[in-house]
């Protein structure tokens, strides 16, 4: 089975994700594709956010459901995977920005902070 995407199907996706899909969706079943992604993600062979992967799955599901996925066929006994197959929480992505929280109760001395402020003002 060969799966081809309509033109513009992945316009909102990054180049990296698009390449990934292009690479893996040349043949095989939908489940094969998911299995490869899960396996490669687990082995850190692919660098793509979980949220991104979930979105790809959702888009593919949508395309299959609407019959718009050119050339794709899904056998009757194949259930579609949940987008959560890669994890149920997009926030678990490993490439999130570092979150910085400061505790104002742990501040240094006001005089030191004024000195730093002066320096940052170029004085």
């Amino acid at each position: 089975m060969r799966i081809e995407f309509p033109k513009g199907f992945l316009t909102l996706r990054t180049k990296k994700a698009e390449d990934l899909v292009e690479h893996h969706l040349t043949e095989g079943t939908f489940w094969d594709f998911v299995a490869i992604l899960v396996e490669e993600k687990a082995e850190d062979k692919v660098e793509v956010q979980l949220a991104e992967m979930q979105n790809i799955i959702k888009m593919i599901q949508s395309q299959i459901a609407s019959g718009n996925l050119g050339g794709a066929t899904v056998s009757n006994n194949t259930s579609l995977p949940s987008p959560n197959v890669f994890g149920d929480d997009a926030s678990k992505s490993t490439v999130k920005p570092r979150v910085a929280d400061l505790d104002l109760n742990l501040l240094g001395d006001m005089k030191q902070m004024f000195a730093r402020a002066k320096k940052m003002e170029g004085e």
Partner: protein, 464 residues
Amino acid sequence: MENNVQSNESQVLGKTDLRNQRTFEPGEEKLNTNRPFKSKDGRARVGVWIDGGSTQTRGIMMTDEEARSGKMMEVFKETYVIPSTSHTVSTRAIPSQNSESDLLYDNMYAMTSSFNTEATIDFKQVTIRGGMAELVSGEENRVGSKLKTHDPVFYSNLVDWLGYTSMLKFGDEIPTDIDIHMAVALPPDDLTKFNLNVFYKNMKSFVWKSVPHDITIKFNIIEIMEKTEPEAYIKAYYILSGQDVPEIVLHTDGGGRSSGTELLVSGVSSPQARPTHEIGGTHLLNDLNDAYVDEYGGRPLPRKKLEEAIRTGYVSLGEKTRNDVVDLIKIAKDQKASELLSSIRRKLFDSHSKYSQDEVSVVSVSGRLFEEGDYGYSIAEKFMELALIEMPNAEFIHIKQPYIPQGLFLLTFQKMSLLSDVSANEAAASEESPYTPSAEPETEVQEPADAVLVETEAEQMKGE
């Protein structure tokens, strides 16, 4: 400066005690009080450091006495917050007090009069906000798409913040006259000479009255300083954290109306590289609205529904139906991340050839635009993913707490004339050994030229 309420106050006032029955936006909890407020004839001198956002107006207020007496650090950490949305009403439209509640939050009904002949913007208004705003329908006043220095709602928010914060600060001894030394954070595009002149002309002196509490205060603006919002934020972050500032820091603060970027080079601002981007929370809501109507049909959603959707990921339709719109939100957020990065590239790096993107050491973001929502997805994530391609050597930081008032304080206090007889460093040193002034301040406070008119109006307002 006692903010806690006495247990028998509500009984004294004879109203239902609604404390702890409301949910407050973070920071607005100080308005959850029914303490008694009283005027006291006299004059006070305070410094204020204010961030007037489109959702909340927040700031620090410090009296000159506090700055001298070793309380600087304590006051520095205390932020006062009011909601930035309001309604303009006729005095005949609503009762002077909320009959259901005696909380300050439920009785935010204020009149402002300005007799400044140089003023170019009319913000002489009767406004209600907080719980009282729920009693009326109609369009909310909200900081719009104009420059803040040209937006009457921004002025109204600053004035009401001064009024309500003075009430909370002084409690049962609220001075009738308060001299204000002010520092304000503005978006970068408001900091042109022309726009600042507009701001100075409009922020001079005014009379403010809390109608339900019958408290009238004359505010005289003695001096004004200003910084950009992203500058105040990122400098506060590095000063407060004590970290060394990396070589090139690119910081973006995302607000409701717009976002602003600050470039720090060796810890110092690069004033030519301060773009404002017409990308903010309001634009995100508009995009979500378009996508929602496209997907589900029907009429555009009201703003409150959209704000709830961005926060929770759902659009509630009645009590039983709700649509999961997380996918639509993610697409809208990704689009905004892409637009923001493109604007930064165009307005900063393409026109500021001295530095290139791959030299950036840290990319940081802050502000409500980058909030995650209950579904755990922030614009920051897509922004980082896209930016990594152009700035591969950068570390990405999402700073979540609001530090703009603290940044304003640290950057301006030393230049203010709030303490005319002692340097900022001497005052700071008094944090360890309290400083006792040996004499009254030498500099006299100049009476505003329109003091007589202000006096007359104050009397009129007292009589209303």
